[in-house]
């Protein structure tokens, strides 16, 4: 019930509540100013840019190999996916044909990274909803195993820089398929754990169902992508709609939900983990020996003039690279299309009229990575 304050004698003022950039559940250095009436959010103003490092400009001053490292740092929870867009843009400009084995390995690594990123989401989201630490540890455990595998392959736990224009930096370890299967087994158990802990929990359902709803039309208008738009019922999955790598060779269904609320965003991500596990198993079956780099690669890559926009399906949505080359060994202009930035646009629409506690979980359900938003 909203009391009509104009009829009463004294005026009341809405409280401005500053959330972030040092708030524990803003997932980094996001800041939003809430205008609240009691516990209801009446207005929301997001502020971004605290983590702006000029990654795009830095890439313009580095050659195509060095740029890969900066891509890792824009999307640190799914670095393989970020690298993939970048190297694919370079490959498209240079017209390099990537060997099949390299493509399969790239797919496996990207899907593994999607799993680890989604687990990270589930863990952080669980904390946002208010479970003390348990889901966080569950998520962290699974992510840790995947990251161990990445470390064995690339030598680094987060900033891999393993993909190269043309293929991969070096061959994967000999026990790669067995290790991947081990990790998948554990991830499958992790999905079960999360399912048991949260999906059917009455309080969890009460908190997340019909909260932060965004309709399909609005979502499209906002330019949302990834699990966030699929939860609104839009079957937009770039792996399916514009297959890259070998995604047209394997079978999978686009996962959607029709509620568009926080619960559906959670559920879509949970199901996508299972889907990715399935995808990786298909990839492993088709993985054959072969070269991982084209025969003739120049020591220093120089691109012809041209421009290209390459987009791939990262865990958070469409991760695009727009690259303009005017010859030479550096891009003339590089623009990263960040999925989180577009998804974040809908925050106000999703939060206004909800409770303060809802604003927190809505923000959590968008699953932002601030270094990707600010770049």
């Amino acid at each position: 019930m909203v009391v009509d304050t104009s009829a009463t004698e004294f005026e009341t003022q809405d409280l401005l509540l500053n959330v972030g950039p040092q708030h524990p559940s803003t997932h980094g250095v996001f800041r939003m100013v809430l205008e609240i009436d009691g516990e209801l959010v009446k207005d929301l103003v997001p502020y971004i840019g605290y983590l702006h490092r000029g990654a795009e400009k830095l890439c313009e001053n580095n050659d195509f190999r060095q740029g890969i490292g900066y891509m890792d740092r824009t999307e640190y929870l799914a670095a393989h996916n970020a690298e993939l867009s970048y190297v694919m843009a370079v490959e498209a400009l240079a017209e390099i044909e990537v060997p099949e084995r390299a493509q399969w390995i790239r797919m496996i690594l990207c899907e593994l990274n999607r799993i680890s990123s989604h687990f990270m989401f589930l863990g952080a989201f669980g904390v946002d909803v208010g479970v003390f630490g348990t889901p966080f540890i569950y998520g962290w455990r699974e992510r840790e195993r995947i990251i161990d595998l990445f470390e064995e392959i690339s030598g680094d736990r987060m900033m891999f820089a393993y993909f190269r224009a043309g293929g991969l930096a070096w061959e994967v370890p000999l026990n790669f398929p067995e290790r991947v299967r081990e990790v998948l087994e554990s991830a499958r158990q992790g999905v079960k754990d999360f399912d048991g802990l949260l999906t059917q929990n009455e309080i969890f359902i009460a908190r997340t169902k019909n909260v932060g709803v965004i309709t399909a039309d609005d979502a499209i208008e906002m330019g949302m992508s990834g699990p966030t738009i699929r939860a609104s019922g839009v079957p937009l999955d770039l792996r399916k709609t514009e297959p890259y790598l070998q995604y047209d060779q394997i079978s999978f269904e686009t996962i959607t939900a029709d509620g568009g609320d926080v619960f559906d965003r959670y559920l879509v991500r949970l199901q996508e983990i299972s889907q990715s596990i399935d995808l990786i198993e298909q990839c492993l079956e088709r993985l054959e020996d072969g070269p991982i780099m084209p025969e003739k690669m120049p020591r220093m890559l120089r691109l012809p003039e041209g421009e290209v926009y390459i987009r791939t399906e990262a865990p958070r949505g469409e991760y695009g690279i727009y690259m303009v080359s005017k010859g030479g060994n550096k891009p003339h202009r590089l623009k990263v299309r960040s999925a989180c930035l577009s998804n974040l646009q809908a925050l106000k629409q999703m939060c206004v009229g909800q409770y303060v506690a809802d604003a927190i979980i809505v923000l959590g359900s968008i699953d932002i990575v601030l270094s990707e938003v600010d770049r």
Partner: protein
């Protein structure tokens, strides 16, 4: 006036009272530190961690180290804070909780004072600490603290009702052992010792399953424990009323929180599980030594505490409106019904099995009501503030 204390006869009442209170406060502080360690260890096991391991053998000294660190810290007060309110708030949270220990029966005859209106005293005294929460929230001059304080007030007052009603429901049907003079069996007592004595045969949990569950839920809310940790919710209001406190004052809040948990668990053990009495009338004629009784009480209270930790490790936090509708629309009507039925049993002398049956039916109703509210919710009305918010931007 004089009393007997630990075998010493003729001790002055005031001295006796002081000794007992000091003993309790000292003992409880140590137990509470143990509780904090226990919670960290138990939660860690739930989360596949080890918990504290570095301080002392298996981390046993972790609480001591924490306490020393907190005492050594600077006691900060924000410049804009309301000095008196801010500085006094911890005492208003701390003192009522420890006052509550006055009536808690640890073992037979071992308590500070046996009060005829023990339960009433307990409810009245511990209810005061809500004032401390509001003072902390208001005095800090911090918006998170204020929201937290307001939430604490709303929650504390609302959940006091089912808590009190649940204790009342038990107290009114307790069968007091017959008075030897008149030979008449009396019913209804607020004296905890009598309530325990009445459970020598069968503990109250058999007769009052619904009341037990409602008490547990309301106790969780009173203790601001998950899923009702809304006032202090880390991910929303970042510690709520305590956000500006540091050092010794913060540790007083912390201590009070765990002391409240301990006292609630002892009350639970006394009222529903029969305190020091063995179940099914075992060893009734030949009371066990006090250390065995203490062990039994510890076990029963520990069960409650373990449940609280378990819940904390597994469920999310409720939202403030859900919290309110849960107590006012579900818990309170159920408790009214239970009190009414208990009254009927009392007046018409119905067999006690009626209590069990109606209690179980009540549990079923509770589960169904929650299930219906969660899985088939009514659509939320369109928020009226949305238009204003849109217009403002």
């Amino acid at each position: 006036m004089s009393t007997e204390i630990f075998g010493f006869d003729g001790v002055n009442v005031w001295v006796d009272g002081l000794v007992r209170v000091l003993l309790i406060v000292g003992f409880m502080t140590v137990v509470v530190m143990g509780l904090i360690y226990g919670e960290r260890k138990i939660l860690a096991r739930f989360q596949q961690r080890l918990g504290p391991t570095r301080t002392g053998p298996v981390g046993l000294l972790q609480s001591v180290a924490d306490a020393l660190k907190l005492v050594g810290k600077e006691d900060l007060r924000p410049r804009n804070a309301d000095a008196w309110t801010f500085e006094l708030a911890p005492y208003l949270v701390f003192v009522p909780v420890f006052l509550g220990f006055v009536i808690v029966p640890f073992v037979l005859d071992w308590q500070v004072r046996i009060l005829e209106l023990g339960l009433l005293y307990f409810v009245a005294v511990t209810g005061i600490n809500i004032v401390g929460w509001i003072m902390a929230g208001w005095g800090s001059d911090n918006r998170y603290a204020m929201i937290g304080g307001m939430r604490a007030a709303a929650q504390g007052i609302s959940y006091e009702l089912p808590l009190v009603l649940s204790l009342l429901a038990v107290a009114m049907v307790v069968e007091v052992p017959s008075d030897s003079a008149t030979g008449e069996s009396l019913r209804g007592s607020l004296n905890l010792n009598e309530i325990i004595a009445a459970q020598a045969e069968i503990p109250n949990l058999v007769w009052q399953p619904l009341v037990l569950i409602v008490f547990f839920i309301a106790a969780l809310a009173e203790l601001n424990r998950t899923p009702f940790d809304i006032p202090v919710g880390e991910s929303e209001v970042v510690g709520g009323p305590f956000v500006e406190y540091s050092g010794i004052r913060w540790s007083m809040f912390f201590l009070a929180e765990y002391a409240a948990l301990l006292i609630m668990s002892l009350i639970f053990a006394a009222v529903f599980l029969g305190g020091w009495a063995w179940p099914a009338g075992l060893f009734q004629d030949d009371p066990w030594p006090r250390w065995a009784q203490a062990l039994l009480v510890t076990g029963k209270a520990g069960l409650f505490i373990f449940m609280v930790f378990w819940v904390r490790a597994s469920v999310p936090r409720l939202r403030i409106d859900q919290l309110m509708s849960f107590t006012w629309k579900i818990l309170l009507p159920l408790m009214f019904a239970q009190v009414l039925i208990n009254g009927l049993v009392l007046v018409y002398d119905w067999p006690e099995i009626v209590l069990t049956v109606t209690g179980l039916v009540g549990v079923l109703v509770l589960v169904m009501a929650v299930d219906r509210a969660v899985r088939h919710p009514r659509p939320r009305p369109a928020p009226a503030t949305q238009l204003e918010g849109e217009a403002a931007s």
